[in-house]
């Protein structure tokens, strides 16, 4: 007996997870991005052209229009601990209504800066919407209020959602969302430090640094979790044998050779394929939900040793492993 032809190949398929590219153009879908941008185009040009009398008239017009009022002090609803950065305020929980051109300008700048921070790759997003001297105090106020809102809102979630996020126990989509949130909060913090740096007391500056350290810690945890999830991959080995066998004794083979020599035999090629699926486990980067020792193959089945010819056909390589 003898095997007269065979080819053994091993096909190893590694399924890995990836994130789609960030599309920075999508910032234009945010309501307010285009609108506040256009508003500031007009207002900035106007500020360069008007004299004090005209500026006073503009203030009068804007202060007289209800729809242009802006409420501030919104972070108070999330504040659960004393802060040197915030004024101590024991009054009933309510916002403070502000009116004036400075508030209108400042709100547009803060909103626009936050959109750039959350949805573009600008290193210093708020620098792109830097205020004029005219509305600097209002801008600093809204910026600090924004920072405090995001920071305290995140802190309130320490024992709930954020805890799960930090541990990486949430779907990756949620991790991404929280990653953006922390990044946004840090952009606010950076802007506050830039704008108010000279006015902050040593204690206030220290508190700001503490906040930044805490946010940095959360951001690191989120990034690590995302990286672990993306690093997880499933590897599947498929062994293929292309072979042909002839059961023959030595006398028979010799007879074959004689027939070939005499020209009374023909030569054909014959092929048969069998597939062995050999799952080699799942590397998970420490975040696998699968029980240890129970690796799965590409088709999700445990084990995977099968009989040649009885396994399902190989999956489309573009299929998801899960």
């Amino acid at each position: 007996m003898g095997t007269v032809g065979s080819t053994d190949t091993t096909v190893e398929r590694t399924y890995s997870k990836h994130l789609t590219e960030r599309n920075y153009d999508l910032v234009r879908r945010l309501v307010g991005y285009y609108e506040y941008g256009r508003a500031l185009e007009h207002f900035d040009t106007l500020l360069e052209q008007v004299d004090d009398q005209e500026l006073a008239a503009i203030e009068e017009i804007i202060q007289g229009r209800d729809e242009l009022a802006v409420y501030t002090n919104l972070s108070r609803r999330f504040q659960t601990e004393p802060s040197i950065l915030a004024d101590s305020d024991n009054s009933p929980l309510k916002g403070v209504e502000r009116r004036g051109f400075g508030w209108v300008l400042a709100l547009a700048r803060v909103e626009l800066g936050a959109m750039l921070a959350g949805f573009t790759d600008r290193q210093q997003p708020f620098a792109a919407v830097r205020p004029s001297r005219y509305e600097l105090p209002q801008y600093a106020d809204l910026l600090l209020d924004g920072l405090q809102t995001h920071y305290w809102a995140l802190k309130q979630e320490r024992d709930g959602q954020l805890k799960q996020v930090v541990r990486g126990n949430v779907p990756i989509q949620r991790l991404l969302v929280y990653g953006r949130r922390v990044m946004l909060t840090r952009a606010f913090l950076q802007a506050v430090a830039t704008i108010m740096g000279g006015e902050l007391s040593p204690n206030q500056a220290a508190e700001l640094r503490t906040w930044d350290d805490q946010l940095n810690e959360v951001q690191y945890a989120v990034v690590t979790s995302i990286s672990s999830l993306l690093a997880s991959q499933t590897t599947v080995q498929q062994r293929s044998s292309t072979y042909a066998t002839v059961n023959a004794c030595g006398a028979l083979l010799r007879a074959v050779d004689e027939e070939l020599a005499a020209g009374t035999a023909t030569v054909n090629n014959f092929e048969q394929t069998t597939v062995n699926r050999v799952p080699v486990g799942t590397s998970s980067g420490g975040n696998s939900n699968r029980p240890a020792g129970a690796p799965r193959g590409a088709d999700g089945r445990r084990g995977g040793q099968g009989f040649p010819g009885r396994n399902p056909p190989p999956r489309n390589p573009n299929d998801r492993p899960d």
């Binding site: 007269v4 032809g5 398929r13 399924y15 879908r29 506040y36 008239a57």
Partner: protein, 403 residues
Amino acid sequence: MLSRASLSLALMMLTALSASDVSAAALSRGQRATILDQLIPAYQQGDSLAVVRVSGPLSRRLNTARVEAIDALLKQHDAPPLGTLMAEARLALTDQDGVSNSPQPNPVEIKLIVPALYTRVLKIIEWAEKHAVMAEPMPAARDFDEFELTLWNTHVLQNQLEATGRLTELIAGWAEKLPPRMLEDLDAEQAIAFRADYEELLARFDLLSHEVQQRDTEIRIRRLEFAAGILAESKNKKERFVAAFALDLDARVIDAFFVDVAEGDIKPVTRERLQDPELAGHLQQIANQGRAHAGDLVSKAQLLFKGIHWWTRGRYGSGPDGWGLLKSMESLKSESDQFSLYMPTETPIPTDPLAGGESVPEYDRRHHYTWGWEDRRIYSAVNTNTTVVSKKNTTVYSMSKFY
């Protein structure tokens, strides 16, 4: 006007009514994949068009149990029930210009959507015909605030008429597509909607719209005259700012209106004041005088009020997607596509966000909410590595006789 909530409810019923096989509760692997890989990401990205494209085929053969299973799966991913998803998406596409790209609703959807939207159309017509702007004589304004309010109301009315006119054309097309066998199963209310004379409805929209355009022009003529008087006499800077802006704007809008009439883009005027042959010369003269009195205040006033206009849109505007925080995907096509937003029909008065209750504007700060929008997705890639372990001659001997 039919609310989004009631339409959502109707569509939730749609999915329940489409039950044909109550036995199969579990979702198939394909359905599950469609929901997880397509529907939920589309919802999370606030992409109404994708939601319609995915949910339409998905809803076609669903039974009650499967709808419940889908709703449970959606809930696990912080998404609303399927019916709500479909209703919101379809309505968003109807209200924006993305309708042409969206798939046609299937017959079951048509059966429920058309009557609901037909009711909405009738209510808009009734509202328009009784609107204060349509009163005779026209309401008189005594100061710029009153002029502004009247013109704003006219603008809102005109927009509603145009949008509802487009909606009516759409409904008319859908109504024709209902299969005859389903026409026999309509209840009384549904039957009215499917047998309505949509040509007659569209003609009513044209008539109303033309009348509103003329009234808008007439109000602007009055304001132009009023503003010219202020610029000639008043020393008050605030008043002069407002007058300079109003005069320049109205002069241009009125001029454009008459050009459109002359070129046939707008039907001939029917209102008496607008038919006066001396009107054009009179308006030109007072506009020129007003601009001369205003000087550079015209350009400064434009910067101020255009800036306020854009700021107000940023503050109070609402997009069709992502709970109002997002514009449609169509908006990325061009700058002009960036413009479409839902705006409040009345001048909003902001409320204290800490006071509780309904908040005006809807989002006290947009940055408090937009961080929750994630547009990125996970995808899997496969890397294939083939190794030849061994290779031998594959020739087989086939012989002519058996040994």
